[in-house]
Amino acid sequence: MSASSTSHSQLPIKHTKRKSFTRWIISFPPMIYMILFFALPSLIMVVGSFMIPGDTGGLAPLFPIAPPQINAQDGLQETGLTLENYTTFFSDTVFAWIFFKSVAVAGLTTFICALMAYPVALLISRHPKSQRDLLLLLVVLPFASNFLVRVYAWMIILGPFNLLFTNTAVIIALVYVHLPFMILPLYTNLEKHDPALLDAARDLGASPWQTFWKVTFPLSLPGIFSGSALVFIPVLGMFAIPEILGGKDSLLVGNLIKEAFLATRDWPFGSMVSMMLTLLVLAIAGLCSWLSNRSRRLQMKGV
């Protein structure tokens, strides 16, 4: 820049500086919140999963605090870090079985949710704009009553059918609770579709059925993916529904974690299971994005 323009160039620089400063100020409170209540607890959980349970629950300290007690028959409180929680997990197949079953239940729930949500979302998105808000309100209306009340209501409904305390009951309730989380992202996606695309498909020789499978469905995949994430992940951690409506063999990962923290008070073990769950979810999410990237690449190759 020439010398004459330097005085002018100061203004925009100052301006952008102020702008980025404003951004900082605005994002500061939520960032602090996230650090304090998400990043820090997660870190505590990572460390906790390598620790030893305290004598009366909770976590044992990392270092001996008081000078060793002479109370010999009680033994000394163990301190420090250990891999024992993880070795316990991998040495018994029951944990792998619970994980496998949880993934299967969550997968089945997600699949049923997708099947049931699709027609609803499609129907709402094809309604006149003025009616859509009312229909969406109906979708989220169940949230107006308490979650536990709604789950207990299923006990009354399912009782006469001899379905209570079975896996079927658990899946029915899981689908019921999570259906809106599938409908809403799917609707958001379907609503954005250009209606001209449907006209174009029909015009170019596609039947209504072909139009759905060649145009509407492929375009709605992102909606299905985000809806699936919103259903699959919470179901993996769900413990209330299996506990209330499930039988003895309906224990899921969520119940395992809840038991470890509240019943056996083995915090390190609970942290470890929680860590494994997080890793599993991350692995599944990674696999999904890899698969969708690959399918897009394959699509680009073919005519």
Binding site: A196, L197, D199, D203, G205, A206, K214, Q299, M300, V303
Partner: protein
Amino acid sequence: MTLPLLKLQNITRRFGDAIAVNNITLEVHTGEFFTLLGPSGCGKTTLLRMIAGFDQPDEGQILLDGQNIVGLPPEKRPFHTVFQSYALFPHLTVAENVAFPLKMAKREQAFIQQRVKETLELVHLEDKGHRFPNELSGGQCQRVALARSLINQPRLLLLDEPTSALDAKLREKLLVELSSLQRTTGITFIFITHAQDEALALSHRIAVMNSGHVEQLDEPSKIYSYPKNRFVANFIGNCNLLEGTAEGFNTTHLQINIPQLGEVRAPRHEKKHEGKGWLALRPEHIAIAAPEADLNYTNTFHGKVCDFLYVGDVTTYIVELDSGQRIEALLANSGLGSIRFFDIGDHVQVAWHADAGYFLPDNADQSSQASYSTSASTPLTASSRT
């Protein structure tokens, strides 16, 4: 006479109380470039949607080779549409988009690949087959949409304002391309537009539509030179309209009395012309000159320049006559250099030949909302009327 490819017979379409298309009857012949021209809301898009099969008429018949196709779904009609918004499938590549109609028709893979290659070459996009629509410019998208509609060789190609989303330069390029595509493929085109210059430049025949009915159906030059009523005169090109009364005639000319202005002579096109009406005069038929010049025309009047529009090749002068009427006159800037002939406030005389103009009797005038048009005529119009 041979059977028309497409015949619309007494087509009417209502939406509630509103009549979108009102008793339209017209024929489109094989190999024709047919244009439906009209302002927005005139019913041309509704008519197109009924031809394509997206909508069904309340009354009337749509005949394809003499067979009524009302009620036939769009996928069963041998017509393809180029949509205003392109409507390319965003999840498919250019090649997949273009292949779509052939895939739906269940043609074999080798044939599809061959046709896709040929068709992409036809629209000069042979190197873009692997791209996705969002990686293309607006003009390229439009050509993909064209290729996709042409690949299965439809009996009829419907174009719904295909140029409305393009800038002026691209628009002109696409129009030239459309014209040559129509000639090379021999496919019948029905073109929908609100732009009179596009209609004049491309069409074999134009149906000028207004509030649900056809005002005039004819060749472009006929429509331009002999508009049937005030609406057509105003909508197609620029037009001066002077209200007056035809008071007498001889074998070739009419004597028209225009209030305040006086007597003017205009050509006589029909046997009988009497009574009130409007004299339509194209700006390019009106000469403008300095007050002292000897123009030697039958109809000569004096006035003052009150505005002008310089568009490069021509300048439109708006002259207020001493009698109060305003007249638009077109002057070609054929002189070398940047000469401007007149300025605002200059006294001038305007004149036109007794053979110029066209008298529109009031009884031929169905639309009363026609008013003074000030839209500038574009170079495209200018070149197409030669």
